[in-house]
Symmetry: D2
Subunit: 123 residues, 4 copies
């Protein structure tokens, strides 16, 4: 879990440095992207990070989460809330009886929606 | 916060669809990147997402968090733990008395470390 | 421009190291993302990279382009071709007479298409 | 190749829409990231994009390249130049006689440099 005390520790860290001024949604969105890519780097050429890198990969994940916590704060939203709301939508999009053990059905729902949107965007 | 019940709801979602087989660390790292960039898209040309988009931006943040929860599970780590461990390191790197109201000092510590590493990498 | 001799130099670099085996489309797509985020890092908190960083930013752009060249090769496409084909579509999507000096009209076309697609995806 | 006529076509596209005002390095860096992640999405769960998606993947690569061309312009650099300069550095970092058919040696050079830098950054 991510407890309230962890979130408060991050707030305190930011306040002590007076860094709230830099934590605009746009800057935090960039920061999440940057850290996400650093995490991805551990899997750039291989499906599993070398054991020697396991600790570093965890730290990159921690960086992503830390900026997400700051972003939730900047947007004024509760993480539990937005995750559960989105999960409800995703469940409707991918009913388990339709997609379980059926990657093609998932792919079709995923790509059809996307292809449609691409066409909508392009034409 | 992100409560254990939210994490369990995500686990249940994955299990009902038998999607654990796709949730390798490498695939989840890609997924975090993809969703992070979708969040960034709301701030591509403007510092604030248009109000009409606020709900969508929240959903993209929820997507990033959902994949992070799955990634923590795939790596077998506790989110509170890795965030607090990393925060302790970051505090040592940027002591508040050194960087508070001193962006140049932050930049120097951030960029020096990076420039050194870039040289180390390149040469 | 990116001349054929530059492209050939990159091919030679790859062949001499026998690295073609790693250059699957999936691995190259990850690599493009990783380097793109390293470029973004120079603009994480500021709109302009510090002058001292200008050279490093150029190198990150070079990294993105190098992986794009490898990706075009992996997909068997010509860069001039795909860029001009996509440009033709984008011109149709954003006619200059509609969007010139009219950010709202751009935003509407951009976000409408996206919002539609998001709904299509979610529901 | 990417010919000068393609680059000029992109300039003309931008000028006709008066979009140069939005093409700051920071905005273009975000845009490259966003498009790179859209390309990655075709390889999110599978190593090869489904054939039906091949054309769309090409368009995402075209988007990345288009923003890179705009970025080179914003930075005032020549793409051939920066690619060849960076290639020279990368050759020195990874001599073919050291890394050819030796992924471990590559990994060591890649990760050592990175781990050192991470420690430098963190401590």
């Amino acid at each position: 879990m991510i407890s309230d005390s962890t979130i408060q520790a991050i707030h305190k860290f930011t306040e002590e440095r007076n860094w709230g001024q830099f934590h605009t949604p746009a800057n935090l969105a960039k920061s999440i992207c940057i850290e996400a890519a650093e995490l991805l780097e551990y899997y750039q050429w291989v499906p599993e990070a070398p054991a020697a890198d396991a600790e570093h990969a965890q730290e990159e994940l921690a960086d992503v989460l830390t900026y997400c916590i700051m972003m939730a704060d900047a947007l004024g939203v509760d993480m539990d809330n937005i995750i559960m709301n989105k999960l409800a939508k995703t469940k409707r999009k991918y009913p388990s009886e339709a997609v379980r053990n059926n990657f093609n059905e998932y792919e079709t729902r995923h790509l059809n929606a996307r292809s449609d949107s691409k066409e909508a965007i392009k034409e």
